[in-house]
């Protein structure tokens, strides 16, 4: 069973005060980074270094998120 938490504005007991609140590591944030990188490629090609930096950051974030989800069995679940 997943550990459900209610959305803060639906319940006053929401974990907004969690110390993890400021940890920047979620899918939503990742898509914001991706959107920004894509926007720079389209509208501000002179900021290629920044766009590529966002791209690399997003790649690392994606890999980190996957490995967090898969840490219980990092190798594929085959019959070893």
């Amino acid at each position: 069973m997943q550990a459900e938490v209610t959305i803060p504005w639906h319940d006053d007991d929401g974990p907004m005060s969690s110390p993890l609140w400021h940890d920047p590591a979620v899918e939503f944030l990742n898509f914001i980074l991706i959107f920004m990188a894509g926007y720079l490629v389209l509208r501000r090609p002179d900021r290629e270094r920044l766009a590529f930096g966002l791209l690399v950051t997003s790649c690392l974030l994606m890999a980190t998120l996957f490995l967090i989800g898969a840490r219980g069995s990092i190798l594929p679940g085959l019959n070893y």
């Binding site: 069973m1 997943q2 550990a3 459900e4 938490v5 959305i7 504005w9 639906h10 974990p15 969690s18 993890l20 609140w21 400021h22 940890d23 920047p24 590591a25 979620v26 899918e27 939503f28 944030l29 990742n30 898509f31 914001i32 991706i34 959107f35 990188a37 894509g38 926007y39 490629v41 389209l42 090609p45 002179d46 290629e48 766009a51 590529f52 791209l55 690399v56 997003s58 790649c59 994606m62 890999a63 998120l65 996957f66 967090i68 989800g69 898969a70 840490r71 219980g72 069995s73 990092i74 190798l75 594929p76 679940g77 085959l78 019959n79 070893y80």
Partner: protein
């Protein structure tokens, strides 16, 4: 210019296909349309596809710089790993079972492996079109199709951001292992911190099962979950002092020929009824074809036919022969090629015992049944008796025995269980499956008809028993060093 278009047009079309196909369908059709909500692993797989598309757009905009290509290769490689890792979660389910939505009959997470693989193929094909000096580093003026692709990409990224916000929330919330249906209604949003919880890190996960070892079992009878188990003193002791190729792993007896079967990790030995000499033997090539690992148990299927089972429930069936073709048997055996014929080499498949090893096998000729009994491990502690039909060696019954109501046995505590026994040898006699447990030095008798333990006896002084044979009214219990403890067979 024609050469550059030959590179950029196919690349643009490939990115467009990726954006409109898997990425766009995932968010707009499956997500917003059908309420599909990715799990934490699905999110990473989808994000990886978006990133590959974005890397392609970098190439379209700035040319094929080596760092773009390098990053794309890394992304695709990680994507293939992600696809395999995620799909493997559902590998052993029954047909049609899986997680989330299907596309053309295949669940979404299984598609990603194929898509990443196609990405690698596309990259190879496009690299073949690359001219020396193509990567100038200058920003290209985008053509209409390329500009439209970029806008569509931004739309898809925005759509994913919206779905990610609703499904996973802002930091620090992240994707869930078992997400709820997507909805635009905030009342149905569930944001979770479950993936942040401390959890053990493992390479093989639930498949990391330690190999069986009687040394892991506590021999102290005081630790038995059963209360007041009667003691069964030894009648006598003996020793197998024969030239074997390694430690003994099991013992079996055939009454018709008055001979014993002794197995080692690779060896099959037929001895006389007094263990005075080896009548016939061979050494099995346990690595050929089916991985037999260590032979852990053996039994007679007929006076001239033996079955040896490895700890991983693979098995080999050998028939004695004085006319065996030594040349043909080179592929099966490592020594003594002309004494046996190999009839079969395969694997027992189980259901309840799938994640457990075995150290015992017994054969009931009356019903043509082969029995194995599991040993517990750190992840799964359950005593499972599996019965296989001799005719096809297929699982025909599995059960976890309870205490027989008329056995007089009882657990010491309410939470008592026979799962803590460590069955290291088994034999069949008189309609009962006898099991010797390395834990607590206990002999158990299981009635397969009632699926109950009908008898238990503690045998003092047993040291790491590894095998059990029944000869007449006596039970022979052996350890790896060949020390035999003979006890009267309780009834």
């Amino acid at each position: 210019m024609a050469t550059r278009n030959a590179l950029y047009t196919p690349l643009t079309l490939a990115v467009l296909a990726l954006v409109v196909g898997p990425i766009g369908i995932a968010v707009f059709v499956l997500g917003f349309g059908h309420g599909d909500s990715p799990c934490v692993l699905c999110w990473a797989q989808r994000t990886g596809m978006v990133l590959i598309a974005l890397t392609g757009l970098f190439v379209i905009r700035f040319g094929p710089r080596p760092r773009y290509i390098g990053l794309a290769v890394l992304l695709a490689a990680f994507g293939i790993y992600m696809g395999l890792r995620h799909s493997s979660l559902h590998l052993w389910r029954d047909v049609g079972q899986g997680f989330s939505a299907e596309i053309f009959g295949a669940h979404t997470y299984t598609w990603s492996m194929f898509i990443y693989w196609v990405s690698v193929v596309m990259m190879g094909a496009l690299l073949l079109m690359l001219k020396d000096g193509e990567a100038t580093g200058e920003a290209r003026r985008l053509r209409p199709l390329e500009r439209a692709t970029l806008w569509l990409f931004l739309l898809a990224a925005a759509g994913n951001a919206v779905q990610a916000f609703a499904s996973t929330g802002p930091p620090p919330y992240m994707g869930q292992g078992d997400p709820v249906r997507f909805s635009f209604n905030p009342a149905h949003w569930v944001w979770s911190l479950e993936e942040w919880r401390p959890a053990p890190i493992s390479l093989r996960g639930r498949w990391a099962i330690e190999k069986p070892d009687v040394g892991l079992a506590s021999a102290d009878p005081a630790g038995s979950p059963l209360a007041a188990v009667p003691v069964l003193p030894a009648l006598r002791h003996a020793t197998i002092a024969l030239p074997l190729d390694g430690p003994i792993t099991d013992l079996a007896y055939n009454e018709a020929t008055d001979r014993f079967l002794v197995t080692t990790e690779k060896g099959i030995y037929i001895t006389d009824g007094a263990f005075s000499r080896v009548l016939r033997h061979t050494v099995v090539d346990t690595m050929f074809s089916v991985d037999l690992a260590r032979l852990a148990a053996g039994t007679f299927l007929a006076p001239d036919t033996v079955l040896a089972v490895s700890e991983n429930k693979s098995y080999v069936i050998l028939r004695e022969s004085d006319r065996a073709d030594a040349a043909a048997n080179f592929r099966y055996f490592l020594a003594s090629f002309d004494t046996f014929e190999e009839l079969s080499r395969s694997r027992f498949s189980t259901v309840r015992a799938k994640m457990m090893y075995v150290m015992s096998v017994a054969f009931d000729p009356a019903t043509g049944s082969v029995y194995t009994v599991t040993v517990p491990n750190a992840k799964v502690k359950r005593l499972v008796v599996s019965r296989f039909d001799r005719r096809d060696m297929t699982l025909s019954e599995e059960f976890t025995p309870a205490l027989g109501p008329d056995s007089g046995l009882a657990f010491k505590t309410e939470k008592g269980s026979i799962d803590s026994f460590y069955p290291s040898g088994a034999a069949f006699a008189g309609g009962r499956l006898y099991v010797i447990s390395a834990a607590f030095g206990t002999l158990l008798a299981i009635d397969p008809q009632t699926r109950t333990v009908v008898l238990a006896r503690t045998i003092p002084g047993l040291e790491r028993p590894i095998g059990l044979a029944i000869k007449g009214s006596e039970a022979y219990i052996v350890n790896a060093a060949g020390a035999i403890t003979v006890v009267p067979l309780p009834s």
